[in-house]
């Protein structure tokens, strides 16, 4: 197995989102084959990871989802530190979107609703394993700098293909007329 050294390394990450953006990525259909010739997926929920941990440095990190928990904060700082280009993929990553609908409520009320009021067996708020919710769900750029914003819920496969093609070609994709919030 020879690996062309010129391939662009890509990581995809799933934070507080519904995975719809990852589904849209797969929706590129046969174009995935073309993309696969130019990129090497080194970290992603979609593939068997070649490394368990995030690589020392990847060229492009594509992040789906908003920042909702203490774990998301840790992850996004780690990703930013180890990625050359950070792409916020989809409205949750770009603007918070659907996950922000919990923002008007207190975390303790949300936890109580999920873990106590609607539960028949052993009602209790978990204090381990499950990451702590932050008071507010926030878009990625409020935590770390983002290089490319890809709006859409989810962004279309065409849009994602365009983003990847441009990045592989070493250009910054201009998305202004290609997608919009809620697209």
């Amino acid at each position: 197995m020879s690996k062309a050294p010129s391939k662009v390394t890509v990581a995809t990450v799933w934070l507080d989102g519904c995975s719809g953006c990852h589904m849209s990525l797969l929706d590129m259909d046969e174009r995935l084959i073309e993309i696969a010739k130019a990129v090497d997926i080194v970290y992603s929920p979609l593939v068997d990871r070649k490394t368990k941990d995030y690589p020392e440095m990847v060229d492009v990190a594509i992040v789906e989802g908003a920042i909702s928990s203490s774990e998301d904060i840790e992850k996004i700082h780690m990703i930013r530190a180890h990625s050359r280009i950070l792409v916020a993929l989809g409205d949750c990553a770009v603007a918070g979107n659907v996950p922000t609908m919990r923002n008007p409520y207190l975390v303790k009320d949300i936890e109580s609703r999920a873990y106590i009021e609607n539960v028949n067996v052993q009602p209790q708020v978990p204090d381990q394993v499950v990451p702590k919710l932050l008071p507010f769900v926030r878009p990625i750029h409020e935590v770390v700098p983002v290089d490319v914003f890809v709006q859409g819920c989810p962004p279309s496969a065409d849009t994602i293909y365009f983003v990847l093609s441009e990045l592989v070609a070493g250009r910054t994709p201009d998305l202004t007329q290609r997608t919009r919030p809620g697209a």
């Binding site: 916020a88 409205d91 770009v94 603007a95 918070g96 979107n97 659907v98 922000t100 609908m101 923002n103 008007p104 507010f136 926030r138 878009p139 750029h141 409020e142 983002v146 914003f149 709006q151 819920c153 998305l175 202004t176 007329q177 919009r180 919030p181 809620g182 697209a183």
Partner: protein, 241 residues
Amino acid sequence: MATAVRSRIRTLKIDGRDVSAREDETILELAEENGIFIPTLCRIEGLSLVGACRLCLVEVAGMNKLVPACLTYATEGMEVFTDSERLRNYRRMILELLFSEGNHICAICVSNGKCELQALAQRLGMDHVRFANLQQERLVDMTHERFVVDRNRCILCARCVRVCDEIEWAHTWDIKGRGVDARVITDLDTPWGESDTCTSCGKCVRVCPVGAIVEKGRAVGEMAKRHDFLPHLAKMREAKK
């Protein structure tokens, strides 16, 4: 002896182009007539002008401040600039501030794909909002039999207030509070469903540029609106006065 005739035509320049305007014509109308795009959200043909959204701000040679094109009339020799780095920055900032004040999650809005705010955000290249959301508490009123007002989506353009007052002559709508506390209200901030002035005509729904005032029972992206009735009704009202 011939008397001097005062010309009602003004000649001026917009973006370097020589144009002529009637004396009662605004810069915004003149620009549209000449195919020059100036963004606006509060202006709507058939209603009075308020200059609420500030998106149509333009530069005029010799003036330090920016002026709203919708409320500025053409004068002789005026030089107007509608597109500059400074204006683009301000317009984008205004849009972002509107988004940060409320809940403008397009993906779950009945007006998704049919919204003037969303369309403008795309047209002006707003790819993200730099300002943190204010997380304000704004009430949704579902007491009306047929309509809903979701104040989280309101951009305070005051189209509802104007159409209700100027066309329907009911004046159910108003704006209460100032700055970030401003809210659209019905009657004396009482539930819409209990209003004794509202005629349930639905004109406020038709003119609302976003998903703030909508019909009940609509799902995401279903709330199409038309306000082509407005110029005609405005003329009829004018004739009646």
